[in-house]
Amino acid sequence: MERFTVAVQTAPFDAGAELARLSADPAVGALVSFTGQVRDYGDSDGVVALELEHYPGMTEKALAAIVDDARARWPLSAATVIHRVGRLALGDAIVLVVVAAGHRRDAFAAAEYLMDYLKTRAPFWKKEIGHDGSARWVEAKASDEAAADRWAGEEA
C-alpha cells in the first residue's frame, strides 16, 4: 500500500474506503479524518454550486509538500489528501484528509495542520455559482491565514 498519497480529481471520493485502507497497519492506533463539503450558504446568498479551479501540476506538488511537512513534525503511519475540482453542488464533498498514527494527539494535530496549510498554500480557487447563473470568486479569509500561522512558532 502507498502510505502517503495525494490526489486532485473531479470524481467523488469514498471517505469510508480511505479510512479502511489506512487502518490496515498493525502500528496504527488512531485515525482522524476531515471532510469538507459545500454548505447551503457561502459568503453570499442563493449559491447553488461551487466551481473549483486549480493549477495543474503545482497543486499535486503543493499537496505532497504539505504532507511531507506534516510527516517531519509528527510520527505518522499514513496520510491521504484528496481534493476535488470542477463543479460541485450543495452537499457535495470537496476535500478529504485522513491521517493514521500510533497516537491520537499526533493524528489530530497532523490532520488539522494539513487542512490549515492546504487552505493557504494549495492553489485552489472557489467560485460561487448563484441560482441566477451569476458567479463570484470567494475571497480568502484572514482566519485561514491565522490558522496556518499558529503552527509556525510551535514545536510539534
Partner: protein, 83 residues
C-alpha cells in the same frame, strides 16, 4: 529573456488571458509584477502595491525578492481558497 506567465481565477478573468510569453529584462518577482502593472488598466489595478496576490515560480510559492531566470514558469494568482 522570455518568461512563461500563467494567471488563475479572478486574475485570469481580469486580464482576459490564462497565459502569455513575456519579454522581461530580468530581475525579481517584484520587478516583474511592477513591469506588468505598468501596462495600466486591469494590470495596474490588480497588481498595485498593497493589493494581495501570490506568485509561484516553477510551481512553488515565491516571495517578491525571488530572482527570475529565462524559461521560468511564473504564475500569478489571488490568495487561494480551496479546502
Amino acid at each position: 529573456m522570455t518568461l512563461k506567465i500563467l494567471y488563475f481565477a479572478r486574475l485570469k478573468e481580469s486580464f482576459g488571458r490564462a497565459e502569455e510569453d513575456f519579454d522581461f529584462e530580468g530581475g525579481t518577482v517584484a520587478e516583474l509584477t511592477a513591469a506588468l502593472a505598468a501596462r495600466g488598466g486591469a494590470w495596474a489595478e490588480e497588481l498595485a502595491p498593497g493589493r494581495v496576490f501570490r506568485v509561484a515560480v516553477n510551481q512553488e510559492l515565491a516571495p517578491p525578492s525571488t530572482p527570475l531566470a529565462a524559461g521560468d514558469e511564473v504564475a500569478i494568482f489571488p490568495p487561494v481558497t480551496g479546502g
